[in-house]
């Protein structure tokens, strides 16, 4: 199972003040806060960790159908190399692996319960509009994106009718659709 979370950095700056007293304490543990304050770009670290927690939560939510708001129960560690940011999120006895894209405009994190699946995930970025489903379908030759009656997205391979697990995240100006190349993974 895979999950993802996208943050429009401009929008995050205007709609959230993470420097507000008490804010970080509600969502980040001590180690995470230390890493935030030791970073040359603290606000990038705030939103990177937040997107990691959200991406992992989305897997748990989709598997368990339980909703809860416990950001502190997700502990993040990240490892950056020159081009890519990888991470690990621990939740209770479970571990999720993450990969993030960070640029001037957005942070996008994908998460998977299996490390090797991260390489199997494809990402499409679109403008965040109400007609993104038809936008996607008019641009994609191979796939058809649909939502079931519960709003769960599903990606159909038009060449062989195979169904792929998909996940959508949007914020501000941007929208990401991810899917696993493996069938129903």
């Amino acid at each position: 199972m895979v999950g993802n979370d996208l943050i429009d950095l401009n929008k995050a700056t205007t709609e959230s003040n993470w420097k507000r007293e008490g804010y970080l304490n509600k969502i980040f543990n001590h180690q995470e806060q230390e890493q935030i304050f030791n970073s040359p770009t603290p606000s990038i670290m705030v939103w990177l960790f937040w997107s990691m927690k959200e991406a992992a939560y989305k897997i748990i939510n989709r598997e368990s159908l339980q909703r809860f708001y416990s950001p502190k129960k997700f502990s993040c560690k990240n490892f950056s190399d020159q081009n890519e940011t990888f991470g690990v999120v621990a939740f209770e006895d479970r571990t999720y692996y993450t990969k993030s894209v960070i640029n001037d405009n957005l942070i996008h994190t994908i998460a998977s319960s299996k490390k090797e699946n991260l390489a199997e995930i494809e990402t499409y970025y679109l403008e965040n509009t109400s007609c993104y489903l038809s936008d996607f379908n008019s641009k994609s030759d191979k796939y058809f994106l649909e939502k079931d009656e519960n709003g769960i997205p599903n990606l159909i391979d038009k060449t062989n009718n195979e169904s792929h697990f998909a996940s959508i995240s949007h914020h501000g100006k941007y929208l990401a659709i991810i899917y696993s190349k493996a069938i129903n993974a």
Partner: protein, 97 residues
């Protein structure tokens, strides 16, 4: 008397929902859903509140009512009903008001 106390309780609940409406206003663009806020309103699916702003709502509620919302209570804070229960419960712990 039971009828009266029931009436007081629902008045109190209506006042709390009116307070919540003011607290939530800066964090939702979905003003129609906010206008018709009720006990069954969901913060995320109905009001489309960004999950990073739920923290602000928790902090605003703490400040407004002089309570501390611990992690276990915050875990349930996904709708108006849960928020009302948490406020009532924490106020009772503080000796009631």
């Amino acid at each position: 008397m039971p009828a009266l106390s029931l009436k007081n309780m629902s008045m109190n609940k209506l006042n709390l929902i009116a307070d919540l409406k003011v607290i939530i206003n800066p964090y939702t663009e979905n003003k129609d859903a906010l206008e018709s806020i009720s006990e069954t309103t969901d913060f995320l699916t109905d009001l489309k509140i960004n999950s990073a702003n739920l923290v602000d709502i928790v902090l605003d509620i703490e400040e407004k009512y002089g309570i501390v919302i611990d992690d276990a209570s915050m875990a349930k804070m996904v709708n108006v009903k849960a928020a009302l229960e948490i406020i009532a419960h924490k106020q009772a712990e503080n000796g009631g008001q």
